[in-house]
Amino acid sequence: MMQDMAKFRGYRRAEPGTQPNHLQPAYVSSIKRAPAKPLVYLPHTLSETTGPSFNSSAIDAKASDLTRQGQGEPLGERIIVSGRVLDEDSRSVALTLIEIWQANAAGRYRHNGDQHNAPLDPNFEGSGHTLTDEHGNFRFMTIRPGAYPWRNHYNAWRPAHIHFSVLGPAFATRLITQMYFPGDALLPFDPIFNCTGDEKARNRLISLFDWETTVCEQALGYRFDIVLSGRDSTPWEK
């Protein structure tokens, strides 16, 4: 075991600029919540290279279809959001838990804290989950969420988005992010979307319209691939 440890490999760290800084003055909520002291670099240990997982028995097979959670069908534009979870070396991340949540077509969340005076939809809960398949693929049926106002600054509106949570293969790869839609006029004005300095990295949060997964007379397809940190190529050195 000691010999194995001497060859221990962690996960790669983000390229500079591809992840947001904690403090983003334009995003007002970060001002009192971002750490002010420098983070302490932690070489990965078994505590970071292992991580939680769920068996398929914990998964509700119906939870990947957000349009079938009420008595009737939710209002809005039906969409299929599919993609693949992979690592930076293009290896599939199989059987990992993805959870999503979103506003309804009118831009309202089913949440007590959401006081936006847009209507709730009795047929839309706005949450789903699934496991990726053995190739890392996932697929959700849902409705396109609406934009919604928030109080960050005068006339602030969030571009349409779906929140994504992915466990990944290890504690080190845990990711929560948001998926946006192509051509959304609100994107240039959104401090959350724009918090990432690297423009290419930022734009990878925008899903792609996809004819391949669009279903005739049923739903438009959007593709959103999620990339998790890859494994270090060089072992940890004493």
Partner: protein, 201 residues
């Protein structure tokens, strides 16, 4: 490297909708071996105000220092159960999942019931002190914050791989305090003089 990891975004204020299905505040249960512990704490912002809309996730080894994960299974296949207690530990390990997730309450508080983890190896071949890996998510946090919970009265803390990376004057932010009723208290201060140690992970 051909690809770059996807950019993190805040969990926002409405995560309850999406994340509550897999809230787990009690990691104990039948067949799970180890000392049962209760960890309570609160999350505070830079003004000392409670954070009522945070998510805390924990990940930990079982009482024998084993993680329920493929990287560990290979190793544990080589470990033979030699007596009754080892066999009990082996079985206990299979029931223990090691993962917890809760949201904070209106007063910023959270609570987990779990077992005290065993020691696991560090990359330098030493054994780490017992600890729990923690992720903190909240509105206002564009990336998760990573920290650890250590245990009071643990002699192994002084030689721990991660604690040694932390300046001595701030190590106490990672070590839970024992309350008079036996529970462990561990708070998260996001910003300020008593700021919790957060790791770049």
């Amino acid at each position: 490297m051909s690809l770059q990891a996807t950019t993190s975004q805040t969990v926002g204020p409405y995560f309850q909708i999406g994340l509550s299905r897999f809230y787990i505040d009690d990691l104990t249960g039948p067949g799970i071996f180890g000392d049962v512990i209760e960890i309570v704490g609160r999350v505070f912002d830079g003004d000392g105000q409670p954070v009522p809309d945070g998510v805390i996730e924990i990940w930990q080894a079982d009482a024998a220092g084993k993680y329920v994960h493929p990287e560990f299974l290979q190793e544990s296949e080589n470990i033979q159960a030699t007596d009754g207690q080892a066999e009990e530990q082996r079985r206990g390990q299979s029931a223990f999942r090691g993962f917890g997730r809760v949201s904070t309450q209106a007063d910023g508080s959270f609570r987990f019931k779990t077992i005290k983890p065993g020691r696991v190896a560090a990359p330098d071949g030493t054994l780490q002190a017992p600890h729990i890996a923690v992720s903190v998510f909240a509105r206002g946090l564009l990336r998760r914050l990573v920290t650890r919970i250590y245990f009071p009265d643990e002699e192994s803390n002084v030689e721990d791989f991660a604690l040694k990376l932390v300046e001595a004057g701030r190590r106490h932010t990672l070590i839970a305090k024992k309350l008079s009723d036996g529970r462990l208290e561990w708070n998260v201060v996001l910003q300020g003089a008593e700021e919790t140690i957060f790791f770049e992970c």
